[in-house]
Symmetry: D2
Subunit: 195 residues, 4 copies
Amino acid sequence: MVVKKPEFHFPPLLRKLGRGGPAVTIPKDAGLIIGYTGIGKTSRVLEFGSGSGFMTAQFANIVSQVVSYEKRDEFLKLASDNIKKAGFDNVVFKHRDVLSGIDENDASFDLVFCDIAEADSMAEPAHKALKKGGYLAAHCLHVEQAKALHLAALKHLSEVFTIEGIVREFEVREFGFRPAHFGLMHTAYLVFARK
Amino acid sequence: MVVKKPEFHFPPLLRKLGRGGPAVTIPKDAGLIIGYTGIGKTSRVLEFGSGSGFMTAQFANIVSQVVSYEKRDEFLKLASDNIKKAGFDNVVFKHRDVLSGIDENDASFDLVFCDIAEADSMAEPAHKALKKGGYLAAHCLHVEQAKALHLAALKHLSEVFTIEGIVREFEVREFGFRPAHFGLMHTAYLVFARK
Amino acid sequence: MVVKKPEFHFPPLLRKLGRGGPAVTIPKDAGLIIGYTGIGKTSRVLEFGSGSGFMTAQFANIVSQVVSYEKRDEFLKLASDNIKKAGFDNVVFKHRDVLSGIDENDASFDLVFCDIAEADSMAEPAHKALKKGGYLAAHCLHVEQAKALHLAALKHLSEVFTIEGIVREFEVREFGFRPAHFGLMHTAYLVFARK
Amino acid sequence: MVVKKPEFHFPPLLRKLGRGGPAVTIPKDAGLIIGYTGIGKTSRVLEFGSGSGFMTAQFANIVSQVVSYEKRDEFLKLASDNIKKAGFDNVVFKHRDVLSGIDENDASFDLVFCDIAEADSMAEPAHKALKKGGYLAAHCLHVEQAKALHLAALKHLSEVFTIEGIVREFEVREFGFRPAHFGLMHTAYLVFARK
């Protein structure tokens, strides 16, 4: 049985971007992050882990400015190439492992987005970078990551919640409305917390 | 058994808004609409059915301009009050039933969002209002509405898909990660199509 | 992306059976039918639509007797061959279209299971065949079938409910518990009603 | 918002039983356990943790014999009272903590069902009690329990899989088919393995 990830998971904004290996945050999750944190065109976003730049591009499309950290050379190149391809000029990349410290401790960000394995280490730095009322959001591949971050966030932030978004596609015919039989069951757990 | 809709479903942007009766589009669905259509700060959105203005506010927070039609007096008042409360100045309301015709037939919108019962009647007007490449998205309460619109959209637009977003919240304790036992199971079907 | 329906969906009882075309009711749904109707080793089951005999075999494994109707020659042969392969001697097959009438109008069955497209026509015959307190259960491929049967059942039976069972498989590693990324999203809607 | 667990979750077999505190295994999960393990009227089941006897009763209704261990006095009394109320005479209760050892090391059971917190300790005893080809199935309240058992089962048994069953109820009206807005989101993770 061959299942294609349906094209709708990659809207035009993302179709032109290159994929180089790291798991990407697709609109199914990116949309929830945008929706639940209420970021908008005046917001500033700080990203821990540029990865392929997919989430970076989805932020850049909406917000005022994105500052994005990436420690791996090849991901940084992929992400910055993708941001160029997408035509955004409001992203600043920093080539550094966020675990060794960040520059933004000035409570000036509306959202800190975290997509690194050691997310639980970033609850405290996120607190320093966030404006009062701003959100930390994280993309966690496993229960273990989500749990560690959720528990760490309880110490430094408030309104902590962990969710999973499931998107089901439907096959629609004149006689016959039903969910597709096979498809994408899971991408990630999302952890949120507010300063 | 008492179940509260968790507070996270209403981020700060929406907490200050009044609710007056019509079903509201919460971030769970608003996020998917934003994510799958790729709208951003330069986009123009046309809305059929302001309702309470919840979705209007979530659009206004992100895009350049929103034009929103509402036929019912009390909903129009609620929606425009809510947009004022939220502090947005980029929304134009029109007091009219979209079934009797719209003014925007000039292919100038990036997204047409439809939240009226007769959504299937709006596939053709949406086509006229949309830029090439723009999206129609609709919030449908029932299978019957979603099916009628999906089939109508196949005639006028392309890349038609119908989805449902399910968000599950997790309870996270030092020993004990599991989904919440009770919660929000369903809000709406979302139908998308592209010009 | 290639997705195999995981082997666990076919327990040993079903692995030896031949598949000949008709959609089969797998344990994911068979289990819910057994669980929600409470049938057991003293129960008598009447089946409308033998299909491949997969559900017939799962009933025969548990209950006292199964009477199963099938109108199509090739399905009847497949189902009866499968029951022989499985080694059950408590199934009586009848080669007839149930829409033309059934013999069992004597209120002697604990469960009527319906797996034909015109399920809504069978609510009244099911009522006649069922003991007081017995259940009608149906496997419906589409919303349209499920809705038609649900509404018909409201006229002839009580405690009507329609459900869908979703089974998610998890990948479990020393560090990394998460749902499988791709898999079986949907099989059928199940409609139940009680006499 | 008040949500009642719908009556359908408790079929007639269970409605007469008393509830005394322990989490009960409802047909949503009991059905999957029955379906995926293929137990039937000739099967013998060994249960670790009688709890309220709800699962015991659902087994007794279907299989030849159930042997059920329970360490707590009050649960043993509740479970055995419930089996009497349900009218079954094929259940043997043993008042003992299974962690201190069991009597059934003779490879004579078709299914070992485990509903105790320390399920991972029971993979090896289950292996001894099971016939070749028989199944271990467990009801785990948390990811942590399910993971520990899954990993332990990989050492002693084969065909290990962990699932979660989600049942969604639909509201069905002449115009308006949709899932119920609120409901039961989660009960348990189910871990299976085969000897």
